[in-house]
């Protein structure tokens, strides 16, 4: 169960090698979390992520999960909830793609969309249903500022995050009053493996900062969290900027 400050005792991470998710898990293990499920494609990286969290004293198990194979989601995630209550599901998988290549290879662009959006719709609904049945729990969805307004530089990724963001908001409204809390997290540019080598945009942040914001959001039972918080203002201005202006902005 969560405590009064929203600190969960059990955690399921979809996208078990995500740096943001692992930074969040480390923070939560330092508080109350004792059980962690890492869902992801079986790989040495997933195993080393698991052993890293084990070293902090958590009981960590891995489960094979492929975002692209939505037909398998029910059979992969069902047993996790069968083992006991999950207080927090962190939906953290996603790919950035390569905008230049993906524009020329529609098949590759579709993979980005299928991973980030379709895969999240399928696994998100399965988790939401399970959380609703247990009458409590939080679903934290890692969206992105890129989904708030399409940018020339990454609109394929951005559009998939826009779909995910809208889905998560709607799901949160659907689950209002069921004891289940859905929180949409919109980080800006996060310095991580995913963005290595890319030019930084202003207000860049780190996985640790996102983890901190998630912990605070859980305590406040927030519905939307921006990281850094100042992005909320910046993006509300940017969202209303005329296309002709937005197109020329150096972000």
């Amino acid at each position: 169960m969560k405590d009064a400050f929203g600190a969960p005792q059990s955690l399921l991470i979809l996208g078990g090698t995500s740096e943001i998710a692992l930074a969040t898990a480390r923070r939560l293990i330092a508080r109350r979390t004792r059980t962690v499920w890492l869902a992801g494609r079986p790989s040495p990286a997933l195993e080393s992520a698991a052993s890293g969290l084990r070293d902090l004293g958590a009981d960590v198990r891995t489960v094979a999960f492929d975002a692209l194979d939505s037909a398998s989601h029910e059979s992969a995630l069902g047993p996790v909830f069968g083992e006991g209550d999950i207080d927090l599901v962190l939906l953290a998988f996603g790919v950035l793609g390569d905008q230049a290549r993906d524009e020329n290879e529609p098949g590759a662009a579709v993979r980005v969309a299928q991973t980030n959006y379709t895969g999240a719709v399928s696994s998100g609904l399965i988790c939401a249903k399970a959380l609703q049945a247990q009458g409590h729990g939080s679903l934290v969805v890692l969206s992105s500022v890129a989904g708030e307004r399409a940018r020339r530089a990454n609109f394929i990724y951005g559009s998939s995050k826009a779909g995910l963001d809208a889905f998560a908001q709607g799901l949160g409204d659907a689950l209002h009053g069921t004891g289940v809390h859905v929180m949409v997290v919109r980080p800006g540019f996060v310095r991580s493996r995913m963005t290595a080598g890319l030019p930084e945009t202003p207000l860049a942040t780190t996985p640790e900062a996102v983890a901190t914001a998630i912990e605070v959001g859980l305590r406040r039972r927030s519905e939307t969290v921006w990281v850094p918080g100042s992005l909320r203002l910046v993006m509300s201005a940017l969202r209303h900027a005329p296309r002709a202006v937005a197109r020329r902005l150096p972000v």
Partner: protein, 472 residues
């Protein structure tokens, strides 16, 4: 059936004919404790008869059920995510009052408020009342409540002769004092079964007024010295502490002690109707309040005023029962004043001889500038045999804290460590955040409790968010 329950029968059980109350069509609703933290959804079922209650228990499903009274437990003791919550306020009959011997036999859903309304005109008072009248008799047993008279009267279940308990098998047992099931149920947070009715011994009073002595203490040591020296002279005793006080005023406080006023202490007018019960009532707190209304500044101002307004010393002031025992009951829904994030109440006890730990904790709270609106210090007398009952002889401090304060969870964890190291414990009826490992260290009879539950309720029918969180 409850007519013979005044006799102390060890454990007679009686089968109840199964009723066909369906629970499947009840939609889940969000439920929280009084602190309004960590809401979870449950099917709220309101039985009106013992048979309906038994049917609800039998049909509660895989995620079990838990009894709930008026929802004054601060944390998650009366929540059950995904399962059933039995709202016991529909079982609210007072079956019998022995006006000569001073006992009452009533349903568990009867509130202490109702008991006072009925009993005061007869010259009787509830033996133990917490800071609110809006708790049920069942809740008082489940939490084994204490009041300002613990040093004299012990906790609530000391005054319970016998109770009717609906157990996991759907049967109703009469549970007498001195049996393991009674001791597991007293303070057992509803996890041994649903209390349906109880016979409670009452306290005789001549009037419905309190004769109150008030004095100020300039700091914590002064306060502790005064309490130690004079507590035994008063039936009721409590101290309010300003935990925002610093330096030489650290722990400055107002002591309020009193007893039921005898008739001859009343002015002539009041003697005409000495047992009248007229609690004051103000308008309710608004339903929306932003987080942070009760912050350092407002609480600091309040504390300053509260301390200054208290007389340096005043004896024999007459106060109404509601003003002396339940000042906050006058403001319905006062818990909303803490905003959406809600609040936690932290109450712990450390034994006599552990004053050093108490001082260290008060210093830490003061140093951290925690805006605690209500901080109350009391001395406990002898404990009672309830296995998970909270009071043990020693000092108990209770404070309210807004849940949105950054880092509060980790800070309270540190206080827990200090409390546990001093052999003390925190109070389950108020808890919403204790670490399971520390809980086991604080309550040495937990294993017996678990063993009894495993035998009595192997399928875990009685389950609450509290029991899941702490692994009870």
């Amino acid at each position: 059936m409850p007519a013979d329950s005044t006799s102390t029968v060890a454990s007679a059980s009686s089968a109840v004919p199964s009723a066909s109350a369906s629970v499947a069509d009840v939609a889940p609703v969000p439920v929280t404790g009084w602190g309004r933290t960590a809401p979870t959804a449950a099917r709220l079922i309101r039985p009106r008869t013992y048979e309906e209650a038994a049917a609800a228990v039998r049909a509660c499903g895989a995620r079990g059920g838990i009894a709930r009274g008026l929802g004054r437990a601060y944390g998650d003791a009366a929540q059950n995510a995904g399962g059933a919550v039995f709202d016991m306020t529909g079982l609210d009959r007072i079956h019998a009052i022995d006006a000569d011997g001073g006992t009452v036999l009533c349903d568990a859903g009867v509130s202490l408020h109702r008991l006072m309304q009925v009993l005061l005109p007869l010259g009787w008072f509830v033996p133990v009342t917490p800071g609110t009248r809006y708790v049920t008799v069942g809740g008082a047993i489940g939490a084994d409540l204490h009041g300002k008279n613990h040093h004299v009267s012990g906790s609530f279940t000391r005054h319970v002769r016998a109770l009717e308990l609906l157990t996991a098998d759907g049967e109703i047992r009469t549970v007498g004092r001195g049996t393991p099931l009674f001791d597991a149920t007293a303070g057992g947070m509803g996890l041994t079964g649903v209390v349906l009715a109880a016979t409670v011994r009452l306290q005789p009073v001549e009037t419905s007024l309190m004769s109150v002595d008030t004095e100020r203490a300039k700091d914590l040591d002064d306060l502790m010295a005064r309490l130690t020296a004079t507590d035994h002279r008063y039936r009721y005793s409590v101290a309010w502490i300003d935990l925002l006080g610093r330096g030489t005023s650290l722990g400055r406080s107002v002591l309020t002690r009193g007893d039921h006023a005898p008739v001859d202490a009343l002015p002539a007018r009041a003697r005409r109707d000495p047992l009248a019960f007229r609690p004051a009532r103000f308008s309710a707190a608004p339903s929306f309040v932003p987080d942070g209304l009760l912050g350092r500044t407002t609480v600091g101002l309040f504390n300053e005023l509260w301390y200054r307004k208290a007389p340096r010393a005043r004896a024999g002031e007459l106060q109404r029962i509601s003003a002396f025992f339940h000042p906050l009951d006058g403001v319905p829904h006062w818990n909303r004043l803490y905003g959406k994030s809600g609040f936690v109440q932290y109450q712990f006890v450390v034994g006599y001889g552990q004053e050093g730990a108490l001082r260290r904790i008060v210093h830490r709270i003061s140093r951290r500038r925690c805006p605690s609106f209500l901080a109350v210090l009391k001395r406990f007398g002898e404990g009672d045999p309830g296995w998970l009952s909270f009071p043990v002889p020693g000092w108990t401090l209770a404070l309210d804290l807004p849940a949105h304060l950054p880092g509060l969870g980790a800070f309270l964890d540190e206080l827990d460590e200090e409390v546990a190291a001093a052999g003390g414990r925190v109070y389950l009826a108020k808890d919403a955040r204790l670490r399971p490992e520390l809980f086991a260290a604080m309550y040495p009879r937990l294993d017996e409790f678990r063993a009894l539950r495993a035998e009595l309720d192997p399928a875990g029918v009685f389950t609450s968010d509290l029991s899941r969180r702490l692994g009870l």
